[in-house]
């Protein structure tokens, strides 16, 4: 669930570059009429509606509530355990919003790149940082529609086949 106390930072010079159109209008061009539910005030606080389980119920507690008849099939691992996988994550704890911080870990491996680490010479935490750099692209925050102009449906109708869902797009053939 959202972090309720987080305050969204005001857009600044570093904010990604574009904004959406104003709130939607209906097809007559006027604002959508506001029924009571449409843009309501925040709802009253509420807890889990059905007390049987909550999103934060750890697996063991949940299974305990269920009577434990299936207990033998369930993991006994603590929630924080991250099993070692072929692609070890530098994080061994439950995921937090804390910055992806490898600076401390880097400090452990200063010096020769051949310094051995628990994960081998080039694997593990150093590689983790490089991984995220590989996944990141500046274009992720750039407007993908910036260089595009709206193209009208009428301009392209001649290009498109008839888009009937029952139209297979292939000519019928007759048995001869």
């Amino acid at each position: 669930m959202q972090r309720p106390h987080f305050r969204h930072p005001r857009p600044g010079p570093r904010t990604a570059g574009f904004r959406s159109p104003p709130p939607a209008f209906d097809r007559t061009g006027s604002m959508v009429p506001s029924p009571p539910w449409a843009f309501s005030t925040p709802p009253p606080p509420f807890g889990p509606r059905f007390g049987q389980c909550s999103p934060n119920t750890p697996p063991r507690e949940f299974f305990g509530n269920r009577g434990g008849s299936g207990g033998k099939h369930f993991s006994g691992q603590p929630p924080g355990h991250t099993p070692r996988m072929s692609n070890p994550s530098p994080r061994g704890t439950p995921y937090r919003r804390s910055p992806y911080d490898n600076s401390g870990r880097h400090a452990e491996h200063q010096g020769s790149p051949r310094t051995s680490t628990p994960f081998g010479s080039t694997h593990g935490r150093e590689r983790g940082t490089n991984d995220m750099e590989k996944y990141y692209k500046p274009s992720m925050l750039q407007d993908p529609w910036a260089d595009l102009k709206p193209i009208s449906v009428t301009e392209t109708q001649s290009k498109c086949n008839s888009q009937q869902t029952t139209n297979t797009g292939r000519p019928g053939r007759y048995y001869n």
């Binding site: 959508v32 389980c53 993991s75």
Partner: protein
Amino acid sequence: MKIAVEGCCHGELDKIYESISYLENKEGVKVDLLLCCGDFQAVRNEGDMKCMAVPPKYRSMQTFYKYYSGEKKAPVLTIFIGGNHEASNYLQELHYGGWVAPNIYYMGYAGVVRFRGVRIGGLSGIFKSHDYKKGHFEFPPYNQDTLRSVYHIRNIDVFKLKQIKMPLDVFMTHDWPRGIYHYGNTNQLLHKKKFLRQEVESGILGSPAAAELLEHLQPSYWFSAHLHVKFAAVMQHQAKNNASPKVTKFLSLDKCLPHRDFLQIVEVADRPGSSQNLEYDPEWLAILKATDNLQKPLCNFWNPPQDNGLHTRWDFSASQEAMMEVVSDLSGDLCIPENFCLTVPAYDPNRPQPNAHPTYCTNPQTTELCATLGLTDKYALAGQGAQNYRVEGATEEEEDEDNQSTGSTDEPSEYPTDTSVLSSSYNPDEITIEDEWEEEEEGVGCAEEKGTDAVVPEGQDSDRDSSPSRETASRLVLPPPRAPPETEAPRRSSLSLLLPPPSSSLSTSASLSQGSSEEEGGLTLARVPKRTSGETQGLPIHSGGTPQIKRRNQNIYTAVEDEESEG
């Protein structure tokens, strides 16, 4: 608010969330919502993995199970639709939508939700014409046909979405609306994906159902994935009712791999005073209530009601009164309850259970929603009544599109790209070269040659109920389907064209095949099944090698469509 949009997830939740966190820290931004456009792979355990249409050698548990078990928690509210690589058994439980894990919400077969006043809609699956008119009849354990048909879009869901009258801000489909590629840089697209040229130029790439919805809904944003390429388009719709023409910004994204365009941050204006929690959408729920009785979970074709003098009602849009009734049903609280709870054990890497069977049971979230709104749990109905409905519903006629079915391919054929050096697991790119899952004309058997999938080998019905025993008082654990009487087998064999006799009644798709006329007494034509017969689920290897007889004149054998809307 900032919405992160992700293309195909393929279970790479760790990487996606890490990427978002990295981006947030690097750029000094805060992401409020993550939208994932399918192939989410909400695989909880080994049993779920067998309900995913992926060849065994590419199957990998990936990382979702950690979020399911509670080991990790999604750092940002995540909403996703289904694609063509999903733990279909799990998603079917939540066919009206629901939490698959804390803070991760699945939209169901189709759905609309609201977040901070922004209306977000979605349609799960990919389009395949030969399954489009069927009900959601599939039920695990799946056979080789239902393993795939389960994620094929159905006209009932498109019909429901077409009842929406109020504007949508965002809409998601896994495959592309057909024709959208003409509204962007088509040349650049074809430069990136040369193999799409013929389909683009023929205008057959993409989903016609999604195209219909795009024309009807005209949302501000439309996000898709499936083709593993980033493509942007801006479509200006035809003006309606003297209003200014609306514009839809379309964006498709890639899958989560290094150096790929799998993520995009989009700024969408939220509405002041709106709830900070994920909310139900009253218009959508009112439509669900109004259309609840329209279709049964049958494999027979269903035709939506039209204004043609044959139906008493064809407009199921939500009136103000209907929406107020929904609000009343919810006791005035539109927030989606945080009622996720584990229903099956999560994968334990220290204690793997490779022989685990898929579970099939109702989900308490769906049970609760159905009770609140008076809806039918169609998934439970499919499981309980599949046997009976196959017999009763046989009088429905079907339009035969066996050899002319179109739709989105399961995987876009493309060059084997450089896979992640980090992952030695499932690589969809390789699958596109080796497998031809949806090549119905050739009847090529897929790579799933082992009977350890969700395909249940013959004679093992008794093993199906091997899920751990636990309290079921509050949930319905559905009994395993029964096998048909053996006396039917010889009759089917006389009509089967080079196909082995059926081994089980699980093959609901068999109603399209040659055996149905005798079994169900309604169909008068024996047709060659378009694909490998679902009746051969117990013999996947043989069915894979069975030649398909192709007729060139299926049209003249097409039975008259039944005009009734009752499915």
